[in-house]
Amino acid sequence: MTTDVRTDGGSAGTTATDNGDLVLDAAGVTLRFGGVTSLNNVELRMHRGEVLAVIGPNGAGKTSLFNSLTGAYTPQEGRITYRPSQGGEHELLGRKPHLVSRLGVSRTFQNIRLFGALTALENVKIAAETRLKAGPVSIMLGLPNARKAERDSDRKAHEVLSFVGLVDKLNELAGSLSYGDQRRLEIARALATDPQVLLLDEPAAGTNPTEKLELEQLIRRINRDLGVSVLLIEHDMRLVMSVADRVMVLNFGKKIAEGTPSEVQQNPAVIEAYLGAVAEEDTAAVAETIAAHEAAETDADTDDTDDTDDSAGGSDGPGKERE
């Protein structure tokens, strides 16, 4: 392992794709639930500043991987190393979720989990102020440092909300926003913690085509303008192909392929995972079928009732039924 920790002190690298600069480096991650192995010896190497997409059929273990990276689940085996741009190495496996977030790895949820009874601004402020030092006593006494913390979190929240384009909805309740706005608010909340790695779990699920385009722009801006590395779970192949630098494919908890979007699309193992048959045909046609299948799956995914894997795709996906 190259230990060039202080490669580009301070600024998050923009196009650093040399093999040494890994912001997330996981190996041998294995997560079991009783008899179910949702992650089987998974390896993840994420370069600083890249957009890495994770794709795979439903139940492949994508969300489990996110949960393991952010401390929500503790895998039985493996290690997950995080290297922030300011140097140092941190083991994320088994770390408490709020500590992972403070280190600079932030996430959104597949099924939106906003604080519905709070306003958009309050949702973001909660994230913005977790690192600010102001205890309950200084707040109750109205000491200057508490006031400053309040002002700082307010400013930060306004900044982030205008970045994602929600400034005009500051005071609306999170629970009453439109679906697309809720997705953006979740991203804003995640960004307010000043992450270096942002994990987006199906951010386009349930959004309309316009919102999808906006989301695509937003992910690009987060990556380029803020220099945040993005790990993206997404079923919409068009979106994945357009924003991702690299793609990794999971199936039955195993990584079956990794590479550039076009490489992955032509990979026989991937095609098999998606179609359940060995198809060595015209790759364009296959890619199209994948897109159609995924679109259908995404639609089925939008409602929270779990009877997904319907026959809308025409092909019988080999992916296990979700729970």
């Binding site: 977030s101 099924n111 604080f115 519905g116 707040i139 979700r322």
Partner: protein
């Protein structure tokens, strides 16, 4: 099944017409009013006896008063259902004449500074000097009970209303505060290293309760909702039984005499005495005002937001960087220390405590004050505690004193059916309830939203 398809195809209007006659709301209202009539005839009539449990029922339902009450109920119902037009129009007129000036004041309130301060000053003046006009009995109730339980309820509100943890043993901290006061003022059979003035005991009681709160909280905060409630219940029993059975230390059931509030500066001394209740009242009013002021700041700060986040979705809060364990402990400790201050205040006012001042019933009652007034809302909790402490004392003149809590219970049942969010609900809590009802949120009364992941 043709029947099923028929009902599903009906429009709302059709459904209303198809509803059976007895399912119509007006008959339900009649039923409710008649029950109220029966209840009123019981409340106002002769009270029960041990020897014959049906005595009161027989007596009250056989004399004419029950007929009067039922007739009254019927009349109210008939007027409301069939002849309400003249009443509503005149009510609207009355409302109009009232609302216009009130609305004007309301507008001025938000624009003019002096109106705001004027109203606040008038309200404060009533709070400060108003009770001078009360009878001695009501002054005592106000100080010994209402003011003390206001403090306790405001503390419990932090734990249950803001952080969403169900605490059924909150009076345990009240007891710890009271016994701290007794110990440090030298009232207990065991003597303290130095005997302190009651006022100096307050910080010590706060620290003791903080420690007790953290000791109870640290191992149990991993537990959710119901389990935490059981643990707090157990904690209360431990504290109560220790107070009761460790007679050599605590004075047990026979109790100990505690010095009342006093200031002794050497050149100047002042003693609060039982001849006049008002100085006690002013002292407690100051405590309550300070605590409420500090807590309002807390509610609208980082801490209050973090508590709401934890209550709504603990998983999301944690991945947003909120240290959930720390904030829950903080809520526990802040609530406990408020209750501890109330305990000191109680011991130093009444001048005597024994273990029976801290029975489990009080924990449950304080919980009901918070829920009745509106969890999470400080005005609500203040109102709930004041009203529900006042009510049984008020009923004393009308019903058998032993039955007073029965009526309190009935009121709570009705309240929870028709207005579960409380009298003056907090905005955040109300929204959570609405969302839960609409099926868009996971909020229940106490616990955090159950985590779903897929």
């Amino acid at each position: 099944m043709s029947d099923a398809t028929k009902t599903t195809n009906l429009t709302v209007a059709q459904q209303l017409r198809e509803v059976r006659w007895y399912q119509q709301p007006r008959w339900r209202r009649l039923g409710a009013l008649l029950s109220l009539g029966l209840l009123m005839s019981m409340v106002t009539g002769v009270q029960g006896t041990h020897n014959d449990i049906f005595y009161a029922v027989r007596e009250n339902f056989s004399d004419g008063s029950v007929a009067v009450w039922l007739g009254l109920a019927l009349l109210v119902w008939a007027v409301r259902e069939f002849a309400s037009a003249p009443f509503t129009s005149s009510a609207r007129k009355v409302k109009g004449t009232l609302v216009t000036p009130l609305g004007a004041v309301g507008r001025l309130w938000s624009t003019e500074r002096w109106v705001r301060w004027g109203v606040i000053a008038a309200f404060a003046a009533i709070l400060v000097w108003g009770p001078m006009g009360l009878s001695r009995f009501w002054q005592t109730v106000l100080v010994d009970q209402i003011a003390i339980y206001l403090l306790v309820a405001v503390g419990l509100n932090v734990v249950i209303g803001w952080a969403g943890m169900l605490d059924l043993g909150f009076i345990a901290f009240f007891a710890i505060g009271a016994y701290s006061a007794a110990f440090w003022t030298g009232a207990l059979p065991v003597q303290p290293p130095v005997v302190l003035n009651n006022f100096l005991v307050i910080p010590l009681a706060v620290i003791t309760c903080l420690i007790a709160g953290v000791l109870l909280g640290a191992p149990t905060l991993r537990l959710r909702g119901d389990y935490l409630a059981i643990v707090t219940l157990g904690f209360h029993e431990i504290v109560y039984l220790a107070a009761k059975n460790l007679g050599d230390v605590t004075g047990g059931t026979s109790g100990v005499k505690v010095d009342r509030w006093h200031i002794d500066l050497g050149f100047w001394t002042y003693e609060w005495n039982v001849i006049d209740q008002m100085p006690f009242y002013w002292l407690l009013l100051a405590f309550i005002a300070i605590v409420v002021f500090l807590f309002i700041r807390l509610e609208h700060s980082k801490v209050g937001r973090a508590w709401t986040a934890i209550r709504e979705d603990e998983v999301a809060a944690a991945s947003t960087g909120v240290d959930t364990v720390r904030y829950k402990l903080m809520a526990f400790a802040i609530g406990a220390s408020t209750s501890g201050i109330a305990g000191v205040a109680y011991a130093s006012k009444v001048g005597y405590i024994n273990s029976e001042n801290f029975v489990i019933l009080l924990s449950i009652l304080v919980l009901s004050y918070v829920i009745f007034g509106g969890m999470g809302s400080i005005p609500g909790v203040l109102f709930g505690a004041a009203f529900l402490v006042w009510l049984p004392e008020f009923l004393r003149d009308f019903v058998d004193p032993k039955d007073r809590h029965m009526y309190l219970g009935a009121l709570l049942v009705v309240m929870m059916i028709y207005r579960p969010q409380g009298v003056i609900p907090s905005r955040r809590r109300q929204r959570e309830l609405e969302m839960a009802e609409a099926g868009t949120g996971g909020a229940d009364a106490t616990g955090p939203a159950s985590g779903r992941q897929s």
